[in-house]
Symmetry: C2
Subunit: 333 residues, 2 copies
């Protein structure tokens, strides 16, 4: 295992220490229980947004804490759900009196723990809503998941709902928006290589030098099919066609096209993939009104990509363009 | 070779097509000769900044074209200098009548070709200045280089000089600033794994599973020493101590601390490294006034990092904070 770490036991702790040292203008980090929260939290009168999940997907979620996005993020151990006590502590730290929305990726542990945290927070008089993101069209059930997995649309939901909350929407409105984003977003990913969880010390799965996995999950869960490596254009087609047909996206739709690196895929390859994805989207009559290209929801150093399409309307475009200032996403400020 | 590409012959062309499709609001791409240039070029009365070099280091340089940074970037083949005709064509496309500054990384081919392009441009009546960046403290001479190599400080110089040009500085002033940034910046990198040049189809160098290369160049050129893999904290110390002692940075200096991924190193590891680098800088009495963390000057999918320190004064801080809007670096807009 070749990693730039000290001790597998300390990866999450030391990564958070680095975030705290790097971004004191944006976030604070609370340790034991661990959560990253806005430096100006609680923002009085604003709906607070909290997400969380296993570590190893950076910048998601801690890197999305800041103005116009999340109020707090709860990082678990690598690829392991955070605990209800983390979520409850974060909730109490950022509640500004207008309620809290949990944005939860659909993995059994996350869903269960966020539900428990919501119950505990309500007992303390905090209004909590929870929206589960399940946008991965690759497989129906999966390791760790009943139903579809939550992947790339989560990043977009955090941006859009963060903008809505910053703009003064109520808790039920922000939750409603989050449901709409989840309904309008679809994703699928693939891997060229496995990642290695620090604790495990060896690759999560074996993938021969001439093979790839289509429909991979962000923890290396099996996808749709393992097959011989193909050209980038064919791979992109295998990802985006099922995404387009699932919603279905229809000719004339405005969309946001998000090409995401799983962590180890360099930017020049993302642009090669974006090129083809954009062509296919246009061939279907979709109008790519916004895009996002880079490493936003990763699986440690896994090589591979995911493609997310989100249907847009004027509300979503306006919210997307709203200023955001977090360690991992920034514009307008 | 596991890459998300179609044909090694088309990697640069298709990557540029992806950039053109993704960022029509920011850049245009001219093909044959290849260059990326500002959508609003030429900006009348503004000094124009041009950089370039081999492809495979994305987002550098094409991702740094836009408001407040470069006016044009000339991408060569992977790890291969662009040609004088590319540079001349880019120069004519972006010259706004106030002269053009070339920001050149110190590699023999780049230096020679940018010199030739400057001569050709001057023959056509365009005023050109050229500044060579040579900030890598790892080795004196190297494969492809007489003297020190140009690495991380290039990114900072492009941001700072871009801000200066946007703010109305004259060509000689922007060139003077670029010399100052080069004099005040120092870097060193390391690799955990090799990268694979698409044309070559196999890793540039062999690095056993338990070894790393300290002082690596951005094309995989040999560094100072190959040794057994160490803990992240020790690695960071081996990089930053020579950087600090070279300038030398002195107690009381304000600095920008830049922790850069070589491409394949995930963000959580960058934060672990940043944490230690920040601690060491503070131990030396340096005040980390600004920072930059991410993949900015990469070597395809190489795993590893580089650390750059830049001494700051109030002028550089002001220029750093100035709005920038490019595909690869954005704030304030």
């Amino acid at each position: 295992m070749k990693k730039l770490i000290n001790d597998p036991e300390h990866v999450v702790q030391e990564g958070l220490e680095g975030m705290a040292a790097a971004h004191p203008d944006l976030v604070k980090v609370h340790f034991d229980p661990n959560y990253v929260y806005r430096v100006d939290a609680p923002v009085e009168g604003k709906v607070a947004l909290i997400s969380g999940g296993g570590s190893g997907h950076e910048p998601m979620h801690g890197g999305f804490v800041g103005h116009g996005m999340l109020d707090a993020a709860c990082p678990g151990a690598v690829f392991t759900s955070p605990t209800p006590d983390q979520m409850l502590a974060a909730t109490k730290a950022v509640d500004g009196g207008s309620g809290v929305l949990y944005v939860v990726k659909n993995y059994t542990g996350d869903v269960m723990n966020f539900e428990m945290a919501a119950d505990l927070a309500r007992l303390e008089g905090i209004e909590v809503e929870s929206v589960v993101i399940d946008d991965d069209v690759a497989v129906q059930d999966s390791l760790y998941t009943a139903g579809r997995r939550g992947v790339g649309t989560t990043v977009l939901a955090e941006k859009l709902c963060g903008a809505a909350a910053e703009g003064g929407m109520s808790l039920s409105q922000v939750a409603g928006l989050c449901h709409k984003v989840n309904e309008w977003g679809r994703s699928m990913g693939m891997a060229l290589t496995s990642c290695t969880v620090p604790h495990a010390g060896k690759p999560t799965f074996d993938l021969p030098e001439d093979e790839m996995e289509i429909g991979i999950g962000i923890h290396g869960e099996p996808g749709r099919e393992r097959m011989k490596l193909k050209a980038a254009d064919e791979i992109v087609e295998m990802l985006i066609e099922p995404v387009i047909h699932d919603l279905p996206f229809k000719s004339g739709n405005e969309v946001l096209l998000f090409v995401n690196s799983m962590g180890g895929t360099p930017l020049i390859e993302l642009y090669i993939a974006y090129r083809k994805a954009h062509q296919i989207a246009e061939k279907h009559g979709l109008s790519v009104a916004r895009n996002l290209i880079g490493s936003y929801i990763t699986s440690l150093e896994m090589a591979g990509i995911s493609i997310t399409l989100l249907k847009l309307d004027s509300e979503l475009i306006r919210l997307w363009d709203t200023p955001v200032h977090t360690p991992g996403m920034r514009w307008g400020i």
